[in-house]
Amino acid sequence: MSADQKRDYGGASMAVLLIGFGAFAIYDTTGYADPDSAVFPRTVAMGLIAVSSVYLTVWLMGRADAATVWERGSWPRRLAFVAVMLIAAFAMPWIGFVPVALASFGLLMMIAMFDAWTLRRAAIYILAGLIIVFGFYGLFGWLLQVPLPRGWLFQG
């Protein structure tokens, strides 16, 4: 393991970000009308800043733990997964639950596919996707009476 691998740059960066979040929280508490609302978040924010600062000090002294070993894997697939999930969530109120669910299911299926596509495999996977989407749609929409988004774009 090299010296760079040993030094937990990522952990230290996160500590800086957490200190920033703690500072923002303290700033936020200055605008509260009721002082009781500020006591808890301010105390916790100070604790977060203190603990993160101690970690940074330990890291600067070279006594922090070694960096966490990253699992290898495909970055484009990771990013595509998050993008599809977020787009699906934002699109649901406009396009409606079923079309978004079917489209995102198909896209996520392609993102998570590592084997070669064959006609038989594609047919089985698409059928499985349809059963899962419409099965859960039935469970939540009809049986549990959850008002799933119908989509604004297609409403008159």
Binding site: D28, D36, A38, V54, E71, F81, A112
Partner: protein
């Protein structure tokens, strides 16, 4: 009592118990659908039933849902219900190394045992134990939350400082939205989406499940190790583990019963406290957090024990011990039953029939749980990644949406999942963050209320440090924190003296 026992054993009640447990388990297994939702959704079915039948069905759904949460916790690293948070810590590592079937069977045995302990407490000790709920004031809740936060030390794999920072981050995240104690809008960054706060279940799904999915799509490796030979339920092996950990089982079930009695605490707190105690009293060679069966036993026995425990204040005092109890309390009012100490004398037949029914529902959970668990395990293990990833992702979206019928929760869930994944890459684990999120509101409310009462009485010190239960919890917290260090020092000193 015998009359009630016989009434609970009628075919109608047994069928209702069986159906309730099966439905509850299936609902609890879906991330996002909590025990509260399972009971709330199915409560209208009970309005036309006689009270004892209705209570047995609701109790069975509740206990089944609490157990069902273990399925997703073990197989997907996502607590199906908040009660199963601690189950993920050792259940998922067990599944990853190929022992998912064993973990599922252990979870079933532990849940049944814990459920029976809780039901026995309800049957025999309800009126005296309900006084425990009344003796807990704001200061006690505050110290209980602080005790809960001391578990961060147990949950921090690797760096304690990162665990503490994660816990503090979770506490701050729990403050987001309109403050419960005033009308101040806190930490929303000006976003309207965050005004209603961050739902704990949405956060749980995001922090536990999304990171697993992000990693799952990035490599062709299988989600769980596939079994090469037929191993069945592994009931003998699971029973041997549970028997070996009988002390953990009894202690965790008792913790679950007592935490269940405390209104507002619930199965998630019980599971985490029991897990921490199991970890603190670990035998040499046990590796908690890396697939230790005792971790699953502690978590699952304690969360199911909260079912019986939670019914104690619900039935005796009319104070719901857990959120599903609040729904059941409402259903009882619809049935025309008024809860209170007199319920155990005036409506003794109904109450004791229900308690026996709950006991039988818990016992029926064994065959139902083993069969459903085996089916769930085989389905997840055999499922190709290209189906598993979109199916689980889809469940997280629809499950999170169903919490409040709100797309904002889904967005928050995904964003928190990404934050959890990034923090996890750098050694800031999800468990302390979740602990902070769950205990934050309990700690804040307890602290502010105790502070206000203390100031009004001009005895702030006495409010926080002068009450016997508070002192007991403080001492126990200190003991939990420092006993491992002191024992280690004592062992080293003894070893040096022997040389």
């Amino acid at each position: 009592m015998l009359q009630s026992l016989a009434a609970a054993l009628t075919p109608v009640n047994l069928v209702l118990a069986l159906l309730g447990v099966a439905a509850g388990t299936a609902i609890g297994a879906i991330p996002g659908l909590t025990a509260t939702m399972a009971v709330a959704v199915l409560v209208p079915l009970t309005f036309t039933m006689p009270p004892e039948n209705a209570l047995i069905l609701m109790g069975a759904i509740y206990t089944g849902a609490i157990y069902g949460g273990a399925y997703a916790a073990i197989l997907l690293n996502t607590p199906g219900t908040p009660s199963a948070i601690a189950t993920t810590l050792d259940g998922f590592p067990m599944a990853k190394r190929g022992d998912g079937d064993l973990a599922m069977t252990i979870a079933c045995l532990a849940s049944v045992a814990g459920g029976i302990v809780g039901a026995l407490a309800l049957l025999t000790l309800a009126p005296p134990l309900s006084k425990v709920a009344l003796s807990f004031g704001p200061a006690e809740y505050f110290w209980l939350a602080i005790f809960g936060l001391s578990l961060i030390a147990a949950l921090s794999e690797g760096s304690l400082l990162k665990g503490l920072a994660g816990g503090a981050f979770g506490l701050l995240v729990s403050c987001v939205g309109v403050a419960e104690i005033s009308a101040d809008v806190r930490l929303t960054f000006g976003s309207h989406t965050l005004i209603s706060g961050i739902n704990v279940v949405a956060a749980l799904i995001g922090l536990f499940c999304i990171p697993v999915l992000i990693d799952l799509v990035s490599t062709p490796e299988r989600h769980l190790k596939i079994e090469t030979e037929q191993r069945g339920f592994r009931l003998g092996e699971a029973f041997a583990h549970v028997w070996r950990e009988k002390l953990t089982l009894i202690r965790s079930s008792m913790i679950g019963t007592i935490v269940g009695i405390l209104p507002g605490a619930g199965g998630s707190v019980a599971g985490l406290v029991a897990y921490s105690e199991a970890r603190r009293t670990a035998k040499p060679g046990q590796s908690f957090g890396k697939g230790e069966p005792a971790g699953v036993i502690a978590s699952e026995s304690s969360n199911n024990a909260t079912v019986g425990g939670g019914f104690i204040p619900t039935l005796v005092l009319g104070i719901p011990g857990t959120p599903p109890d609040a729904v059941i309390l409402g259903a009882l009012l619809v049935q025309g039953l008024r809860t209170g100490p007199s319920l155990f004398t005036e409506k003794a037949t109904i109450v004791y029939t229900f308690i026996w029914g709950l006991m039988f529902a818990t016992i029926l959970m064994l065959p139902v749980g083993l069969l459903l668990g085996r089916y769930a395990y085989k389905s997840i293990v055999a499922m190709p990644k290209a189906i598993l990833v979109p199916a689980v992702a889809f469940m997280t979206i629809i499950g999170t949406y169903a919490i409040n019928n709100n797309v904002s929760d889904v967005v928050i869930m995904i964003v928190l999942g990404v934050i959890g994944w990034v923090l996890g890459r750098f050694g800031y684990l999800a468990s302390p963050i979740v602990l902070g999120l769950i205990l934050g509101p309990i700690a804040e409310q307890g602290f502010v209320q105790a502070w206000t009462i203390g100031v009004a009485r001009e005895d702030l010190f006495g409010m926080f440090f002068g009450r016997p239960i508070s002192l007991g919890i403080i001492l126990f917290t200190l003991f939990s924190l420092f006993s491992p260090i002191l024992i280690e020092k004592w062992k080293r000193r003894s070893a040096l003296n022997e040389r």
